[in-house]
Amino acid sequence: MHELSLLENVREILEEHAVSQHFSKVSKVTLEIGKLSCVEPEALRFGFDVVMKGSLAENAELIISELDGLGVCQQCGQQLVLETLYEPCALCGSPDVKILQGREMKIKDLVVI
Protein backbone atom coordinates (compact mmCIF):
# COMPACT_ATOMS: atom_id res chain seq x y z
CA MET A 1 0.00 0.00 0.00
CA HIS A 2 2.70 2.49 -0.99
CA GLU A 3 -0.07 4.67 -2.40
CA LEU A 4 -0.39 6.17 1.11
CA SER A 5 3.30 7.16 1.06
CA LEU A 6 2.89 8.64 -2.41
CA LEU A 7 -0.13 10.64 -1.23
CA GLU A 8 1.88 11.88 1.73
CA ASN A 9 4.44 13.11 -0.81
CA VAL A 10 1.63 14.84 -2.72
CA ARG A 11 0.58 16.60 0.48
CA GLU A 12 4.15 17.74 1.19
CA ILE A 13 4.57 19.03 -2.38
CA LEU A 14 1.28 20.96 -2.07
CA GLU A 15 2.45 22.51 1.21
CA GLU A 16 5.70 23.64 -0.40
CA HIS A 17 3.89 25.18 -3.36
CA ALA A 18 1.45 26.90 -0.97
CA VAL A 19 4.39 28.82 0.50
CA SER A 20 6.17 29.60 -2.78
CA GLN A 21 3.02 30.43 -4.78
CA HIS A 22 0.99 32.05 -2.00
CA PHE A 23 -2.20 30.05 -1.65
CA SER A 24 -3.98 28.68 1.38
CA LYS A 25 -6.34 26.11 -0.04
CA VAL A 26 -6.37 23.53 -2.81
CA SER A 27 -9.72 22.67 -4.38
CA LYS A 28 -8.56 20.30 -7.12
CA VAL A 29 -5.51 18.08 -7.63
CA THR A 30 -4.78 16.50 -11.01
CA LEU A 31 -2.37 13.56 -11.05
CA GLU A 32 -0.91 11.90 -14.12
CA ILE A 33 -0.37 8.17 -13.58
CA GLY A 34 1.13 5.91 -16.25
CA LYS A 35 -0.50 2.54 -16.78
CA LEU A 36 2.91 0.83 -16.48
CA SER A 37 3.71 2.36 -13.08
CA CYS A 38 2.95 0.13 -10.11
CA VAL A 39 0.36 2.53 -8.74
CA GLU A 40 -3.27 1.64 -8.51
CA PRO A 41 -5.51 4.67 -9.21
CA GLU A 42 -8.30 3.16 -7.11
CA ALA A 43 -5.95 2.91 -4.11
CA LEU A 44 -4.97 6.56 -4.62
CA ARG A 45 -8.63 7.57 -4.68
CA PHE A 46 -9.26 5.48 -1.59
CA GLY A 47 -6.43 7.08 0.38
CA PHE A 48 -6.68 10.65 -0.88
CA ASP A 49 -9.37 11.94 1.48
CA VAL A 50 -7.70 10.28 4.48
CA VAL A 51 -4.24 11.70 3.78
CA MET A 52 -5.51 15.20 2.86
CA LYS A 53 -7.74 15.50 5.93
CA GLY A 54 -6.61 18.40 8.10
CA SER A 55 -4.36 19.75 5.32
CA LEU A 56 -4.85 22.62 2.89
CA ALA A 57 -6.27 20.08 0.42
CA GLU A 58 -8.98 18.75 2.71
CA ASN A 59 -12.14 18.10 0.64
CA ALA A 60 -10.22 18.76 -2.60
CA GLU A 61 -11.34 16.97 -5.72
CA LEU A 62 -8.90 14.38 -7.09
CA ILE A 63 -8.60 13.89 -10.86
CA ILE A 64 -6.42 11.02 -12.07
CA SER A 65 -5.41 11.16 -15.69
CA GLU A 66 -4.08 7.78 -16.82
CA LEU A 67 -1.37 7.68 -19.48
CA ASP A 68 -1.13 4.75 -21.87
CA GLY A 69 2.02 2.68 -22.03
CA LEU A 70 3.92 3.53 -25.23
CA GLY A 71 7.10 1.95 -26.52
CA VAL A 72 9.27 1.61 -29.59
CA CYS A 73 10.81 -1.65 -30.82
CA GLN A 74 14.62 -1.39 -30.84
CA GLN A 75 14.83 -3.93 -33.68
CA CYS A 76 12.28 -2.78 -36.26
CA GLY A 77 11.32 0.70 -34.98
CA GLN A 78 7.61 -0.09 -34.64
CA GLN A 79 5.74 2.18 -32.20
CA LEU A 80 3.66 0.15 -29.75
CA VAL A 81 0.87 0.62 -27.23
CA LEU A 82 1.86 -1.49 -24.20
CA GLU A 83 -0.38 -3.03 -21.57
CA THR A 84 2.55 -4.46 -19.57
CA LEU A 85 6.29 -3.86 -19.08
CA TYR A 86 7.23 -7.05 -20.91
CA GLU A 87 5.36 -7.08 -24.19
CA PRO A 88 7.40 -8.19 -27.19
CA CYS A 89 7.08 -6.18 -30.40
CA ALA A 90 3.70 -6.87 -32.03
CA LEU A 91 5.30 -6.61 -35.50
CA CYS A 92 8.63 -8.50 -35.31
CA GLY A 93 8.39 -10.27 -31.92
CA SER A 94 11.60 -8.78 -30.48
CA PRO A 95 11.56 -8.47 -26.67
CA ASP A 96 13.81 -5.39 -26.94
CA VAL A 97 11.17 -2.70 -26.55
CA LYS A 98 12.11 0.72 -25.15
CA ILE A 99 9.44 2.28 -22.96
CA LEU A 100 8.62 5.85 -23.99
CA GLN A 101 5.63 6.56 -21.78
CA GLY A 102 3.58 4.91 -19.06
CA ARG A 103 5.79 4.91 -15.96
CA GLU A 104 4.86 8.47 -14.92
CA MET A 105 3.58 9.33 -11.46
CA LYS A 106 3.27 13.08 -11.19
CA ILE A 107 1.24 16.01 -9.99
CA LYS A 108 0.16 17.77 -13.16
CA ASP A 109 -1.64 20.82 -11.82
CA LEU A 110 -3.68 22.24 -8.97
CA VAL A 111 -6.66 24.51 -8.64
CA VAL A 112 -5.98 26.75 -5.65
CA ILE A 113 -7.57 29.58 -3.71
Partner: protein, 260 residues
Amino acid sequence: MCGICGCGQTGNTSKFQPIAGKLKPILAHHYNHPGHDHEHHDNERLIKVEQDLLSKNNAYAAQNRAYFQQHHIFALNMVSSPGAGKTTLLVETILRLKDRFPIAVIEGDQQTEHDADRIRATGVPALQINTGRVCHLDAHGIGHAVTELGIKDHSLLAIENVGNLVCPSSFDLGEAHKVVVLSVTEGDDKPIKYPNMFHAADLMIINKTDLLPYVDFDVGRCIQYAKLVNPDIQIIKLSSTKGDNFSAWTDWLSGRVKPS
Protein backbone atom coordinates in the same frame (compact mmCIF):
# COMPACT_ATOMS: atom_id res chain seq x y z
CA MET B 1 21.47 16.97 12.54
CA CYS B 2 21.55 14.48 9.73
CA GLY B 3 24.92 14.51 7.99
CA ILE B 4 23.54 13.70 4.56
CA CYS B 5 20.28 15.57 4.16
CA GLY B 6 20.72 18.22 6.90
CA CYS B 7 17.07 17.98 7.94
CA GLY B 8 17.50 18.18 11.72
CA GLN B 9 15.54 14.98 12.31
CA THR B 10 17.19 12.70 14.84
CA GLY B 11 15.42 9.38 14.27
CA ASN B 12 16.49 6.94 11.57
CA THR B 13 13.06 6.36 10.09
CA SER B 14 10.65 8.48 8.13
CA LYS B 15 7.43 6.73 8.94
CA PHE B 16 4.10 7.57 7.45
CA GLN B 17 2.24 9.71 9.96
CA PRO B 18 -1.53 9.90 9.65
CA ILE B 19 -2.85 13.42 9.94
CA ALA B 20 -5.25 14.39 12.68
CA GLY B 21 -8.29 15.72 10.88
CA LYS B 22 -10.74 18.50 11.53
CA LEU B 23 -14.29 18.61 10.25
CA LYS B 24 -15.08 21.32 7.72
CA PRO B 25 -17.91 23.82 8.24
CA ILE B 26 -21.02 23.38 6.11
CA LEU B 27 -20.19 24.31 2.52
CA ALA B 28 -21.78 27.06 0.49
CA HIS B 29 -22.45 25.04 -2.64
CA HIS B 30 -21.12 21.87 -4.19
CA TYR B 31 -19.94 20.14 -7.28
CA ASN B 32 -22.39 17.37 -7.87
CA HIS B 33 -20.76 13.97 -8.04
CA PRO B 34 -21.45 10.89 -5.98
CA GLY B 35 -19.99 10.47 -2.54
CA HIS B 36 -18.03 13.72 -2.55
CA ASP B 37 -18.66 17.39 -1.86
CA HIS B 38 -16.23 20.03 -3.04
CA GLU B 39 -16.22 23.72 -2.31
CA HIS B 40 -16.34 26.10 -5.23
CA HIS B 41 -14.87 29.61 -5.17
CA ASP B 42 -14.73 32.37 -7.77
CA ASN B 43 -11.12 33.33 -7.01
CA GLU B 44 -9.68 29.97 -7.95
CA ARG B 45 -6.58 29.77 -10.12
CA LEU B 46 -4.77 26.97 -11.88
CA ILE B 47 -1.14 26.22 -11.00
CA LYS B 48 0.99 24.02 -13.24
CA VAL B 49 3.12 21.70 -11.09
CA GLU B 50 4.43 18.90 -13.35
CA GLN B 51 6.33 17.38 -10.43
CA ASP B 52 7.06 13.69 -9.89
CA LEU B 53 5.32 12.19 -6.86
CA LEU B 54 8.67 10.69 -5.95
CA SER B 55 10.62 13.91 -6.45
CA LYS B 56 11.39 14.32 -2.76
CA ASN B 57 12.50 10.70 -2.39
CA ASN B 58 14.55 11.00 -5.58
CA ALA B 59 16.30 14.12 -4.24
CA TYR B 60 17.24 12.28 -1.03
CA ALA B 61 18.38 9.30 -3.12
CA ALA B 62 20.63 11.57 -5.19
CA GLN B 63 22.20 12.89 -1.95
CA ASN B 64 22.78 9.33 -0.72
CA ARG B 65 24.29 8.34 -4.08
CA ALA B 66 26.66 11.31 -4.01
CA TYR B 67 27.71 10.39 -0.46
CA PHE B 68 28.30 6.75 -1.44
CA GLN B 69 30.41 7.80 -4.43
CA GLN B 70 32.44 10.25 -2.40
CA HIS B 71 33.17 7.59 0.24
CA HIS B 72 33.58 4.68 -2.20
CA ILE B 73 30.69 2.80 -0.58
CA PHE B 74 29.18 0.12 -2.82
CA ALA B 75 25.49 0.11 -1.87
CA LEU B 76 23.05 -2.61 -2.85
CA ASN B 77 19.28 -2.55 -2.42
CA MET B 78 18.31 -6.18 -1.77
CA VAL B 79 14.67 -6.93 -2.57
CA SER B 80 12.50 -10.07 -2.61
CA SER B 81 9.25 -11.52 -1.35
CA PRO B 82 9.21 -12.41 2.35
CA GLY B 83 11.08 -15.67 2.96
CA ALA B 84 13.26 -15.75 -0.18
CA GLY B 85 16.35 -15.96 2.02
CA LYS B 86 17.83 -12.45 1.90
CA THR B 87 19.08 -12.46 5.48
CA THR B 88 20.67 -15.93 5.22
CA LEU B 89 22.27 -14.87 1.92
CA LEU B 90 23.72 -11.78 3.65
CA VAL B 91 24.94 -13.71 6.71
CA GLU B 92 26.78 -16.22 4.49
CA THR B 93 28.15 -13.37 2.34
CA ILE B 94 29.48 -11.54 5.40
CA LEU B 95 31.14 -14.67 6.80
CA ARG B 96 33.01 -15.15 3.51
CA LEU B 97 33.93 -11.52 2.78
CA LYS B 98 34.22 -9.59 6.05
CA ASP B 99 38.00 -10.01 6.20
CA ARG B 100 38.43 -8.62 2.67
CA PHE B 101 36.57 -5.31 3.03
CA PRO B 102 34.32 -3.58 5.60
CA ILE B 103 30.63 -4.49 5.41
CA ALA B 104 27.59 -2.77 6.94
CA VAL B 105 23.93 -3.70 6.74
CA ILE B 106 20.69 -1.75 7.00
CA GLU B 107 17.71 -3.98 7.68
CA GLY B 108 14.15 -3.01 6.81
CA ASP B 109 11.20 -4.81 8.34
CA GLN B 110 7.79 -3.74 9.51
CA GLN B 111 8.56 -4.97 13.04
CA THR B 112 11.30 -6.58 15.20
CA GLU B 113 15.11 -6.40 15.41
CA HIS B 114 15.47 -10.10 14.50
CA ASP B 115 17.27 -9.62 11.19
CA ALA B 116 19.69 -6.97 12.48
CA ASP B 117 20.48 -9.28 15.44
CA ARG B 118 21.35 -12.10 12.99
CA ILE B 119 23.67 -9.75 11.07
CA ARG B 120 25.32 -8.35 14.25
CA ALA B 121 26.08 -11.91 15.34
CA THR B 122 28.54 -12.07 12.41
CA GLY B 123 30.43 -9.11 13.87
CA VAL B 124 29.52 -6.42 11.33
CA PRO B 125 27.48 -3.28 12.16
CA ALA B 126 23.77 -3.44 11.36
CA LEU B 127 20.92 -1.02 11.88
CA GLN B 128 17.28 -2.06 11.89
CA ILE B 129 14.66 0.28 10.45
CA ASN B 130 11.14 -0.67 11.48
CA THR B 131 8.84 0.78 8.87
CA GLY B 132 5.67 0.19 10.89
CA ARG B 133 2.73 0.47 8.52
CA VAL B 134 4.92 1.33 5.54
CA CYS B 135 5.78 -1.39 3.06
CA HIS B 136 9.18 -0.15 1.79
CA LEU B 137 12.31 1.74 2.81
CA ASP B 138 12.74 5.31 1.55
CA ALA B 139 15.82 7.35 0.74
CA HIS B 140 15.40 9.77 3.63
CA GLY B 141 15.41 6.97 6.21
CA ILE B 142 18.47 5.43 4.54
CA GLY B 143 20.37 8.74 4.75
CA HIS B 144 19.77 8.85 8.50
CA ALA B 145 20.69 5.18 8.93
CA VAL B 146 23.95 5.72 7.03
CA THR B 147 24.85 8.63 9.32
CA GLU B 148 23.96 6.64 12.43
CA LEU B 149 25.92 3.55 11.35
CA GLY B 150 29.09 5.53 10.58
CA ILE B 151 29.92 3.35 7.58
CA LYS B 152 33.63 3.11 6.74
CA ASP B 153 34.94 4.25 3.37
CA HIS B 154 35.41 1.46 0.79
CA SER B 155 32.61 -0.59 2.39
CA LEU B 156 29.97 -2.86 1.00
CA LEU B 157 26.61 -1.57 2.24
CA ALA B 158 23.79 -4.08 1.91
CA ILE B 159 20.33 -2.59 2.39
CA GLU B 160 17.85 -5.39 2.99
CA ASN B 161 14.50 -3.97 1.98
CA VAL B 162 11.10 -4.99 3.34
CA GLY B 163 10.00 -8.32 1.85
CA ASN B 164 7.72 -7.06 -0.90
CA LEU B 165 8.02 -7.27 -4.68
CA VAL B 166 5.79 -4.28 -5.44
CA CYS B 167 6.37 -1.09 -3.48
CA PRO B 168 10.19 -1.05 -3.05
CA SER B 169 10.58 -1.02 -6.85
CA SER B 170 9.45 2.62 -6.96
CA PHE B 171 11.71 3.99 -4.22
CA ASP B 172 15.29 4.73 -5.24
CA LEU B 173 17.52 4.61 -2.14
CA GLY B 174 20.68 5.83 -3.87
CA GLU B 175 22.00 2.30 -4.39
CA ALA B 176 24.38 1.22 -7.13
CA HIS B 177 22.15 -1.75 -7.99
CA LYS B 178 18.90 -3.36 -7.01
CA VAL B 179 19.42 -7.08 -6.47
CA VAL B 180 16.26 -9.20 -6.55
CA VAL B 181 16.37 -12.54 -4.73
CA LEU B 182 13.95 -15.24 -5.87
CA SER B 183 13.91 -18.67 -4.21
CA VAL B 184 12.96 -21.89 -5.96
CA THR B 185 10.20 -22.53 -3.41
CA GLU B 186 8.32 -19.67 -5.08
CA GLY B 187 6.72 -19.66 -8.52
CA ASP B 188 9.07 -19.49 -11.53
CA ASP B 189 6.71 -16.91 -13.06
CA LYS B 190 7.38 -14.26 -10.39
CA PRO B 191 9.30 -12.07 -12.92
CA ILE B 192 6.19 -11.57 -15.04
CA LYS B 193 3.84 -11.46 -12.05
CA TYR B 194 5.85 -8.58 -10.54
CA PRO B 195 7.46 -7.04 -13.64
CA ASN B 196 8.23 -3.61 -12.17
CA MET B 197 10.68 -5.09 -9.68
CA PHE B 198 12.46 -7.37 -12.16
CA HIS B 199 12.56 -4.49 -14.62
CA ALA B 200 14.25 -2.27 -11.99
CA ALA B 201 16.80 -4.89 -10.83
CA ASP B 202 20.26 -5.34 -12.36
CA LEU B 203 20.89 -8.78 -10.85
CA MET B 204 18.57 -11.68 -10.05
CA ILE B 205 19.75 -14.29 -7.57
CA ILE B 206 17.92 -17.61 -7.81
CA ASN B 207 18.33 -18.92 -4.25
CA LYS B 208 17.80 -22.30 -2.53
CA THR B 209 18.88 -24.24 -5.64
CA ASP B 210 19.62 -27.25 -3.37
CA LEU B 211 15.83 -27.68 -3.13
CA LEU B 212 15.31 -27.95 -6.90
CA PRO B 213 14.87 -31.76 -6.84
CA TYR B 214 11.91 -31.35 -4.47
CA VAL B 215 10.00 -28.47 -6.07
CA ASP B 216 8.25 -27.77 -9.35
CA PHE B 217 10.43 -24.76 -10.30
CA ASP B 218 11.70 -24.51 -13.89
CA VAL B 219 14.95 -22.49 -13.78
CA GLY B 220 15.04 -22.09 -17.58
CA ARG B 221 11.50 -20.75 -17.68
CA CYS B 222 12.22 -18.35 -14.78
CA ILE B 223 15.27 -16.95 -16.61
CA GLN B 224 13.26 -16.66 -19.82
CA TYR B 225 10.58 -14.65 -18.00
CA ALA B 226 13.18 -12.43 -16.29
CA LYS B 227 14.89 -11.68 -19.63
CA LEU B 228 11.51 -10.89 -21.17
CA VAL B 229 10.91 -8.20 -18.54
CA ASN B 230 14.53 -7.05 -18.46
CA PRO B 231 16.81 -8.22 -21.31
CA ASP B 232 19.90 -6.83 -19.48
CA ILE B 233 19.34 -8.55 -16.12
CA GLN B 234 22.28 -10.62 -14.81
CA ILE B 235 21.51 -13.95 -13.16
CA ILE B 236 23.29 -16.00 -10.46
CA LYS B 237 21.94 -19.36 -9.25
CA LEU B 238 23.10 -20.42 -5.77
CA SER B 239 22.27 -22.05 -2.48
CA SER B 240 23.04 -19.91 0.59
CA THR B 241 22.68 -22.76 3.07
CA LYS B 242 24.67 -25.39 1.11
CA GLY B 243 27.12 -22.95 -0.51
CA ASP B 244 26.52 -24.23 -4.08
CA ASN B 245 27.89 -21.72 -6.62
CA PHE B 246 28.14 -19.10 -3.84
CA SER B 247 31.50 -17.92 -5.20
CA ALA B 248 29.75 -16.56 -8.31
CA TRP B 249 28.02 -14.05 -6.01
CA THR B 250 31.04 -13.24 -3.82
CA ASP B 251 33.15 -12.76 -7.00
CA TRP B 252 30.47 -10.44 -8.40
CA LEU B 253 30.67 -8.37 -5.18
CA SER B 254 34.47 -8.44 -4.82
CA GLY B 255 34.86 -7.07 -8.33
CA ARG B 256 32.70 -4.07 -7.48
CA VAL B 257 33.75 -2.94 -3.99
CA LYS B 258 36.56 -0.41 -4.46
CA PRO B 259 39.70 -1.40 -2.53
CA SER B 260 41.09 1.22 -0.15
